[in-house]
């Protein structure tokens, strides 16, 4: 359920409940993205270095 759903109510229960759900999902998503992004950046950096070595 999102705040755009017809069933959504702006009450404390919904805010706390879904707040936490989306918070957790955000943490998980950000964590994964961070690790992924870092990996990609590292890889790009390394590959660039390797390319240098090769030439």
């Amino acid at each position: 359920m999102t705040p755009f759903s017809f069933e959504w109510q702006w009450d404390i229960g919904h805010i706390i409940f879904f707040g936490f759900l989306y918070l957790v999902l955000t943490i998980v998503g950000l964590g994964l993205s961070w690790a992924g992004l870092k990996t990609v950046l590292q890889l790009l950096g390394l590959m660039w270095e390797r390319d240098l070595e090769e030439h």
Binding site: V28, G31, W34, G36
Partner: protein, 411 residues
């Protein structure tokens, strides 16, 4: 044949032997798969569940698995948040066990609900007043986190580590594990509690109903406490079994003893609170409903032996065994204590599920009996077979026990 996959510096049995070991579990898994197909295709009439036993064997397995899997979050919490160094030697095993328990439980749930294809309605049309929604939210999220926690261990595999992105990704994930562990702890705490809450809030079911604190019935807290008191014991037990089967020492005693001691203390607290809860329940909720203690234990096989076994034999005794260093340090007593503790928690979940539903509340309603069908057993046992297989594979191909090399040098 599969030697490239096996971690360096450790010995593993031959591939053939390993295959023979997995064979019976694979067969059970096939049995489970057949059952699952039947249940999904022909609907739940394949089971012996009924309008009386709306929750049955599967839910007992679910709750049992989730309680036993609590070792993961609790050990993770102690390792990453509190910073207990000695637990690093066991955290991988704990995480894998947790992952197995939670994913197994989720799979069973997927078959248990009548309309699995609409399962996501829990999220989309969530009723925030329902404890089960809290449970669903938390265990789904927590399973994600367990997967994330499991991932670096998988990526440490010899062969996978050769893949640079994978290795880097695993390392990067590992470096922020504390964040995930913290989130996981938060989630676990709540869903272990809300699993208890699920029963405690069935106010019209006198066997389960409990008073409580704010929106949480006492079972909320008791379930958390019992889960964290038992989870580590289950981890110890699995490690012990692995050690027995592989004839190796895998985890230093330090880690085991720490967990065992902690378990003992928590279990003692839990037992005291559980007895207090039981007594107050008899005097308040049950009394108000017009029922005496023995009214709950006169139907079918669910006699007074249940609470005696659960609280006495499988509660007080393991608590003593775990708290008293003399027993705790004796591997035999430790194993017995762990086994009793695990049985105790499963019995506790069993009572809350089955006995709650089995004893009729209406005075003119009769007692109905329930025995699971082979399809139900198939799916329930498949969760165990699945666990054994995953853990065996993990042990064989992944560096589950960091101290294994050290403790078992290859001569």
């Amino acid at each position: 044949m599969d030697s490239v996959l096996i971690p360096e510096g450790v010995s593993r049995c031959s591939a053939k032997k390993f295959f023979l070991w997995t064979l019976p579990w694979i067969l059970i898994l096939i049995w489970g798969a057949v059952s699952a197909v039947l249940c999904l295709w022909k609907a739940l009439n394949q089971t012996n569940m009924s309008n009386i036993f709306a929750f049955a064997l599967w839910i007992v397995f679910d709750l049992g698995l989730i309680a036993l899997g609590a070792g993961a979050f609790f050990t993770g919490f102690l390792t990453y948040i509190i910073g207990k160094k000695e637990l690093k030697d066991i955290i991988n095993a704990a995480v894998i066990i947790g992952f197995i328990c939670y994913s197994g439980a989720m799979a069973i749930l997927g078959i248990d609900i009548g309309q699995p294809l609409r399962g996501w309605f829990i999220f989309w049309h969530a009723n925030i007043h329902s404890m089960l929604v809290e449970v669903s939210f938390c265990i789904t999220c927590y399973l994600m986190i367990l997967t994330i926690e499991f991932l670096p261990i998988i990526l440490e595999n010899n062969k996978l580590e050769e893949i640079k992105p994978a290795r880097l990704f695993g390392k990067n994930l590992h470096s922020i594990m504390a964040i995930f562990a913290a989130t996981g702890t938060f989630l676990s705490f709540f869903h272990q509690g809300s699993l208890g809450g699920m029963f405690g809030v069935m106010y019209a079911r006198p066997f389960a109903a409990r008073g409580g604190f704010y929106i949480w019935p006492w079972t909320f807290f008791l379930f958390i406490l019992s889960a964290i008191a038992t989870g580590p014991c289950f981890t110890i037990l699995i490690v012990r079994i692995t050690e027995k089967l592989t004839k190796k020492k895998l985890v230093p005693d330090r880690a085991i003893q720490f967990l065992a001691k902690l378990s003992g203390i928590l279990l003692s607290i839990y037992i005291v609170l559980k007895i207090t809860d039981t007594v107050s329940w008899i005097c308040t909720e049950a009394h108000k409903a017009g029922l005496t203690f023995m009214d709950f234990y006169k139907e079918g096989p669910y006699g007074i032996w249940l609470p005696i076994t659960e609280i006495g034999i499988c509660g007080i005794i393991p608590a003593i065994l775990l708290v008293v260093p003399k027993f705790r340090k004796d591997p035999k007593w430790l194993t017995i204590a762990c086994i009793l503790n695990c049985i105790g928690i499963v019995l506790n979940r069993f009572s809350f599920i089955i006995v709650t539903l089995a004893i009729p509340v209406l005075p003119f309603e009769r007692f109905w009996s329930y025995l699971p069908t082979w399809q139900e057993w198939g799916i329930a046992l498949a969760s165990i077979a699945y666990g054994v297989l995953i853990f065996s594979l993990a042990y064989r191909y992944l560096p589950v026990f960091p101290k294994e090399k050290e403790l078992n040098p290859i001569s």
